[in-house]
């Protein structure tokens, strides 16, 4: 029994900020002060507010410290743990300067509802007993002893849970099809191959609560009649892989995986398969092909995996976040889950909030929350007083949502209606300094790089599309090229083999739809309004603002800046000028000038 618990985030974000050094310092300080028996230090998964890491919470008060450094540790122990007074200097301050004592009182957390992330930042993910202490494996015990496989499927169907990996297919329906498929061997797979740029929801669940995935997969296996599962996880997620393997080992040691689980006669085993980072392996049939030991390429559907999946056997594949909801649905009931969210999208959604946003991090909100609430209330708005321009959801498969749709309730159907998609939950915010043509090009470059090459529309079509887009950013495109691009987008969408090819043109289509004026400015005016596209950029020096200090010339790597013979009124030295033929458009002059004399446009 401990009188106080100090929880330190051990997610990837805080670990890269050396949170493990904080844990070491805390344990050392507590030992030196003979407090190790009354105060426990626990490394947890992600608390969500990654922008403020490393994060530490001291219970029972729930005092929230952020941006902690090793040198702060003795002060926290002395003043808080021994003295009983939180160190106010290290507490969180909201944008208006208000001091907030608890993470749950922050604007960042107020509108969040944590279902999939309920144990992240609460338990030690490397200790199965902590998971059990939070009702862990109770849902598995319930289904094995009180429910038939059909009961389980009925509950999941009634809950309205839809796949959190992208397309939003009803989870219960997928399970129902797999159960109906005949055959002695069936498989349960987990897609933890989170490949969208900026997305880290699944990684955080695996790092903070790996047992929830194991429990849900065992429940799914019981429901469809499977005895073997695979988790396909990116090798680039070392902490997640380590904790998941540890969790599997512990579950086997406790008899929760293996033969005759809870003495019910049900057998289930689970293995990890590491992905090598190919984006296409996030597509379900490519993922299964990769598990089979072959090159990760998609297969035509039908037959769907529920009929003929892994090794040709009936298979279900759900992603990490989908599974993370399952045990609670079993324990609390379908009605409870379906009471959260919108009519057609039940429950919550986890988003990885990134880009031009104050509170970068992981948020979980009920379906139906508006983008405005996510960006401006939870996310804290746009830094440096800049204006919101768009939010990109769904990664390379999604689209850009403009200001006019900030108040649309976020759910699967609404996002598709406005030209984007839920995707796995990456949410990248852009401000006025982002060029939307450049953003579309960024995502298309990613898709072209990651195309597996199996089907022509994706392999060749996206390449041609990228060439047209490059003409736009280079200022050599015509208005007819914009029409060609749009037409090509629809061909690629209609004819690609898998979901990745079918959605690859979405960033181009959505930016053409909402930001066509920016495309036209590139094509007609040969101008990038955001000042991003290098070939359309031109740096110049305002001769009346320039004081002639020459700092820009010193920084210029191309020797493109020289002194003129013009001296502005009130200045002692002649102003500088840029030779646009020599200029490499690196922007060094602009960032060096303290007088705002260098202009870009």
């Amino acid at each position: 029994m401990y009188r106080s618990h100090i929880l330190v985030c051990g997610g990837t974000g805080c670990t890269s900020n050396k949170s493990f050094k904080i844990v070491e310092a805390l344990n050392k300080e507590l030992a030196e002060r003979n407090l190790s028996e009354e105060v426990k230090v626990i490394t947890t998964g992600c608390f969500g507010l990654c922008a403020k890491g490393p994060i530490m919470i001291v219970y029972p008060e729930g005092t929230f410290y952020h941006s902690i450094k090793v040198e702060n540790v003795p002060e926290i122990i002395e003043e808080h743990i021994i003295g009983g007074k939180p160190v106010e200097r290290l507490l969180h301050r909201e944008n208006d300067g208000k001091v907030v004592n608890s993470l749950h009182e922050t604007e960042f957390m107020k509108k969040q509802v944590r279902l999939a992330l309920r144990n992240c930042g609460v338990i030690d993910p490397e200790n199965i007993q902590e998971y059990i202490g939070r009702d862990g494996y109770q849902a598995l015990a319930k289904v094995l002893t009180q429910m038939t496989p059909q009961d389980v499927i009925d509950v999941i169907l009634a809950s309205g849970l839809r796949g959190r990996g992208g397309a939003g297919f009803p989870t219960g329906l997928k399970w129902k099809f797999a159960k109906a498929s005949q055959g002695p061997v069936k498989y349960v797979c987990c897609n933890a191959d989170e490949g969208d740029p900026g997305a880290f929801m699944d990684r955080s669940v695996l790092e903070g609560d790996p047992h929830v995935v194991i429990e849900a997969m065992a429940i799914a296996a019981y429901a469809i009649g499977s005895n073997q599962g695979y988790v396909y996880v990116r090798a680039e997620y070392p902490i997640a892989v380590k904790r998941l393997q540890l969790a599997i080992d512990q579950a086997k040691e406790y008899g929760i995986l293996g033969k005759n689980i809870f003495g019910t006669g049900f057998d289930f085993d689970l293995e990890i398969r590491l992905g090598a980072g190919a984006f296409v392996c996030g597509e379900e049939t490519a993922l299964m092909t990769s598990i089979e030991g072959k090159r990760g390429e998609p297969r035509p559907r039908p037959p769907f995996p529920a009929i003929k999946g892994l090794f040709g056997k009936p298979t279900i594949l759900n992603n990490v976040e989908t599974y993370a909801n399952v045990p609670q649905i079993i324990l609390k009931g379908a009605e409870w889950f379906s009471s959260i969210g919108t009519e057609k999208s039940k429950g919550t959604k986890v988003f990885a909030l990134g880009g031009k946003i104050v509170n970068t991090g992981l948020v979980e909100v009920p379906m139906g929350t508006t983008l405005r609430e996510v960006v401006f209330e939870i996310g804290g708005g746009i830094p440096n007083g800049k204006k919101f321009k768009a939010a990109q959801t769904g990664g390379p498969s999604g689209g850009c949502i403009p200001t006019e749709h900030l108040d649309v309730p976020i759910d699967y159907d609404n996002l598709i209606a406005i030209g984007s998609m839920m995707g796995s939950g990456g949410l990248i915010v852009m401000d006025e300094d982002n060029c939307m043509v450049d953003i579309a090009k960024f995502f298309l470059e990613f898709t072209v790089d990651e195309s597996c090459g199996k089907c022509t529309p994706c392999r060749i079509g996206n390449k041609r599309l990228l060439e047209l887009l490059t003409k736009v950013t280079d200022g050599t495109a015509t208005l007819e090229d914009l029409d060609k691009m749009e037409q090509l987008c629809y061909y690629i969408k209609a004819n690609s083999l898998c979901g990745l090819g079918q959605t690859a043109p979405n960033p181009v289509l959505s930016t053409l739809r909402y930001f066509r004026d920016e495309y036209v400015a590139h094509v007609v005016d040969k101008r990038c309004p955001a000042g991003v596209c290098k070939k359309l950029l031109k740096y110049s020096i305002d001769k009346d603002k320039c004081i002639g200090c020459g700092m820009c010339a010193k920084k210029c790597p191309a020797d493109a800046i020289s002194r003129t013979d013009y001296t502005a009124e009130g200045h002692k030295l002649a102003s500088m000028a840029i030779d646009t033929n020599k200029c490499v458009k690196c922007g060094a002059c602009m960032s060096t000038c303290k007088f705002g004399a260098v202009k870009k446009g």
């Binding site: 029994m1 106080s4 219970y59 029972p60 009983g84 749950h104 202490g133 862990g136």
Partner: protein
Amino acid sequence: MQIEQLNNIKNEMHKQFVNRLQENESTIKFCLGVKSSGITADKKALILSMIEYVSERFDNALVMFDSDLDDGLTVFCGGKTEYYGVNDFNAAKTVVDKYLA
């Protein structure tokens, strides 16, 4: 493992979680005043006994020191705050039991 063993672990771990509740989940807070005395050995012993006692009786309760309270015990429950001038375990138990009802 049998389900009974699973439940035993759950109950044992539950005691650990009583003082690690997220504040918005807790419905009752028992706060021991330490402003005048500081966190002494006696106060530490008292709070550990109280944590154990409370964890066996409540699902959603916190036991914590209160550095703004001179001495005694304050209980926050259902939007109300009650103060009790108790400083030993037996007296504190009586207060805790009162809230069980």
